[in-house]
């Protein structure tokens, strides 16, 4: 794991935590602290904090889309007016990605 990028994350619950850890490992990163784990409402309330931290280090927010939006970008627009991007960390040499993982019913 030495040398790989430490990636923090925030999730809704402990199952999502397992998923995000696996995702980070699969991508060659190293899972850092995983925050939240107390439901979607809390995750949304604390999102500005995570977004703030994401200006200084890589983060993943994993959240169920449910029926809140058609896909990830409009949801993001609704939730965060100024999402952190890779431009905040030109030194980090990584690309900010906002994407969607299809659920079982989609």
């Amino acid at each position: 794991m030495r040398g790989s990028v430490l990636i923090s994350a925030a999730v809704e619950g402990i199952i999502d935590e397992a998923v995000v850890r696996k995702l980070i490992l699969e991508a060659g990163g190293c899972p850092g602290a995983i925050y939240g784990k107390n439901g979607k409402a809390l995750l949304r309330r604390l999102l500005p904090g995570y977004n703030n931290a994401a200006r200084f280090s890589p983060w993943i927010i994993l959240v169920d889309l449910d029926r809140d939006a058609e896909c990830a970008p409009p949801l993001l627009e609704d939730w965060l007016s100024e999402p952190a991007t890779s431009d905040d960390m030109p030194w980090a040499n990584y690309t900010g990605v906002w994407g969607m993982i299809p659920g079982r019913n989609e």
Binding site: I14, I34, K37, N51, N52, A53, S57
Partner: protein, 374 residues
């Protein structure tokens, strides 16, 4: 405080504030960190001393960090300041074991305001190596130039009340200042009347917040003369009913012990998980209570905790929280302020508890849910 090879820690170098909250996974070394202070107390305490302090911890090999490599001496180096900032003390001790597995002092230094008062091994030690089985700190005939330091170490107090030991003091017969509360009732009984009554009155006032039915607390002796704490609880009978410590709840007893110790002056008060058995709303106000006690007594308070409620207090500074992170080469200890994520997360509205508890999550904790599977 600087440590080398002490138990979980290959190396530690941290500033010690007046109030410290130690946060980390189970078995990451929070208690072993507090044990450094207990070790210094044991060195300086009457009836203590170097050999007793080591044998009480089952020998040098049990103390030495498993990650210790070529230089295997265990070292503790502490710096202290008088509250009025007039003196700055340093105490440094390094030890190991000899070929007969006997604990020996490798180094002992005392400095006051940068001036060396003691530096060992000295010529006398070289002429008679058996002298290195004792520290100068523990010897009244040689510690006079730094007696203040020894007295300070002796006043360090560790508290981790086990309610059942308070209720059954016979289990701890002969113990003095038992950190687990075995002689708690005896300590209360031995306090001068006025001091005891004042403290019990203050404890009653504080406890009435947590246990509103409690109307009175007093020391009471049974027919054999054994001391007991008893409290009068509000009841449908006009006079209420008296109950002794045998009937007090675990939370009530632990809170009583905590409040009693908090009112004593002296060196650092070391607390293990003071949140145990207490309602979260009471736990939330403990940091404020500690701060208030400090203003009154000047006492430092260091506490280990797993409680998000305890860390929810806005008054806790980032330099007051020490994070314990187990790594392959021993546990790393660092103040929360040194973590680059903490500041932006706080600014974004997270509480200290929201931030530090996930950081100290044990790895693979989810495996516990599978407990019992073949």
């Amino acid at each position: 405080m600087h440590l080398s090879n002490w138990k979980n820690f290959a190396g530690v170098d941290v500033a010690i504030q007046d109030r410290l909250f130690l946060v980390g996974p189970n078995a990451s070394g929070k208690s072993n960190f507090l044990d450094v202070f207990r070790f210094l107390r044991d060195l300086a305490a009457s009836g203590g001393g170097f050999q007793e302090s080591i044998s009480g911890r089952t020998g040098v090999t049990s103390i030495r960090c498993l990650a210790a490599r070529r230089i295997s001496d265990v070292e503790i180096h502490v710096e202290l300041k008088d509250p009025d900032q007039t003196s700055r003390w340093e105490y440094e001790i390094g030890f190991n074991q000899d070929t007969q597995r006997r604990a020996v002092v490798r180094k002992e230094r005392v400095l006051r305001n940068g001036k060396i008062l003691l530096e060992r091994p000295n010529d006398e030690d070289r002429n008679d190596p058996a002298r290195l089985t004792q520290t100068y700190l523990e010897q009244v005939n040689v510690n006079r130039p730094f007696r203040d330091l020894a007295t300070f170490f002796d006043s360090i107090h560790y508290l981790h009340i086990v309610p059942q030991l308070v209720r059954e003091p016979d289990r701890s017969v002969g113990r003095h200042n038992d950190p687990f509360g075995g002689d708690f009732l005896e300590q209360i009984a031995k306090a001068p009347d006025r001091k005891r009554n004042t403290r019990l009155r203050r404890i009653k006032e504080a406890l009435r917040v947590a246990v509103p039915q409690l109307q009175e607390i007093e020391l009471w002796r049974d027919a054999r003369g054994a001391p007991h704490l008893r409290g009068r609880y509000q009841h449908w009978r006009p006079q209420g009913s008296w109950q002794t410590e045998k009937q007090f709840s675990d939370g009530t007893l632990r809170l009583m012990g905590l409040l009693w110790a908090a009112m004593e002056g002296g060196g650092p008060l070391l607390l293990e998980e003071p949140e145990l058995s207490l309602h979260p709303e009471i736990v939330r106000v403990l940091p404020q209570m500690f701060a208030r006690v400090q203003r009154l007594t000047g006492r430092q308070i260091f506490t280990s905790t797993h409680s998000p409620d305890l860390l929810r207090d806005d008054g806790i500074g980032l330099d007051e929280v020490l994070l314990f992170t187990p790594e392959s080469e021993g546990t790393r200890v660092a103040p929360a302020e040194s973590d680059k994520d903490v500041q932006p997360l706080l600014q974004g509205g997270l509480s200290l508890a929201d931030i530090v508890i996930p950081k100290t999550r044990p790895e693979k904790v989810e495996q516990l849910t599978l407990f019992g599977d073949a």
